[in-house]
Symmetry: C2
Subunit: 210 residues, 2 copies
């Protein structure tokens, strides 16, 4: 075939189609954070208080201006970010490194599952209002994908896959839970321990290995 | 073959021989620690001071009674354990999580390589003596093996392998450096970020994948 603009365009289109077949996802690193119930917003910030979202983290989920101090038996984590919207139950997501720092023992759970959750005190440092809740978990690594992406790559909601992420601390994360929803973007969510173990920063690419 | 004690012994011996072919290593988790030069021992603890070893961590390497405060631009880590014996150069090994906590940026280096090491202040809280050194690194994950083990499993000093460690946060660590010495035991050394990412505790087994 002769070398022409048309030929180059065709090569590029074919290359893009090949790349498109590879199940890459962006990796996002979740820092420790707090989801509050409406009731706990009232106790910590005052009756009828509305959280102030400042930055969209995931579709429909926001980092808020508000931060809390999270304490266990041995220590405290200051300025832990509150996320909105409110949830039916208060949930704190911290890393296993944080477990050692503040003296709490969390399970590694899917978000929303508070089975075995660790006991922590949440305090608003501005007014000293506090609640004590069995609500602390470490988040199970998981991958958000859309139904289109799931179909294209033969993945299913609830499936457990591995995800390979690059060097110089190359890591294959086993036990990654696939979650499919039309409201998602393609994103793998890991915590700061997992990010540091793999020297991974926000936006790095992960390769799904079914 | 008839079922006899001899037969059972043979089955057990064969099973042990099979297990022996699998390149398993024990995984040990290194907490943050400090190696000091003789000169810095003198500055921090006093001229002619001898460190007090209390527990052998590796053959010939000891955790000492002494601890130091390690500080960066943003914060401090208290009670960081000093190891003996002294070394030609002071070296601090911290995790990448610690990097964020104290505001220092370390490379991920093999122990002994201080190229690009982060600037930290080491202080003896008992007498306020302090030194400022470009000596902070995060340790590269590595595997110690004996020459026998190396020969049996066709591994070489300097080789880079992967190591798989179990669930529920199953992880394959790529980029693991093999070190061979007759003074070693078979051990993989990882830091606390890597341990927490994989929910690994001291003595868990890792499988070397060449």
């Amino acid at each position: 075939m002769e070398l022409s603009i048309e030929y180059l365009k065709q090569i590029i289109a074919e290359t893009i189609a090949e790349i498109d077949k590879i199940p890459f996802v962006q990796v996002l690193v979740s820092n420790r954070h707090v989801h509050l119930s409406g009731e706990d917003v009232g106790i910590l910030f005052g009756e009828g208080y509305q959280l102030s979202p400042v930055k969209e983290l995931l579709p429909g989920q926001f980092a808020c201006e508000e931060t809390l101090t999270v304490s266990g038996e041995k220590g405290s984590l200051k300025k832990v970010r509150v996320l909105s919207p409110v949830r039916p139950e208060t949930q704190v997501e911290i890393s296993l490194t944080d477990n050692f720092t503040i003296g709490v023992r969390t399970p590694v759970n899917e978000s929303g599952n508070l089975s075995g959750a660790g006991l922590v005190i949440l305090e608003n440092p501005l007014n000293s209002a506090r609640v004590e809740r069995k609500c602390a978990i470490a988040a199970q690594r998981h991958v958000h994908i859309t139904p289109d992406f799931a179909e294209k790559h033969a993945l299913k909601n609830g499936q457990v896959v591995s995800v390979e992420v690059g060097s110089p601390r190359g890591t294959v994360f086993r036990d990654c839970l696939i979650r499919v929803s039309k409201d998602f973007k393609e994103e793998m969510h890991i915590d700061t321990d997992e990010a540091n173990a793999g020297m991974i920063k926000n936006g790095d690419l992960g390769l799904i290995i079914p």
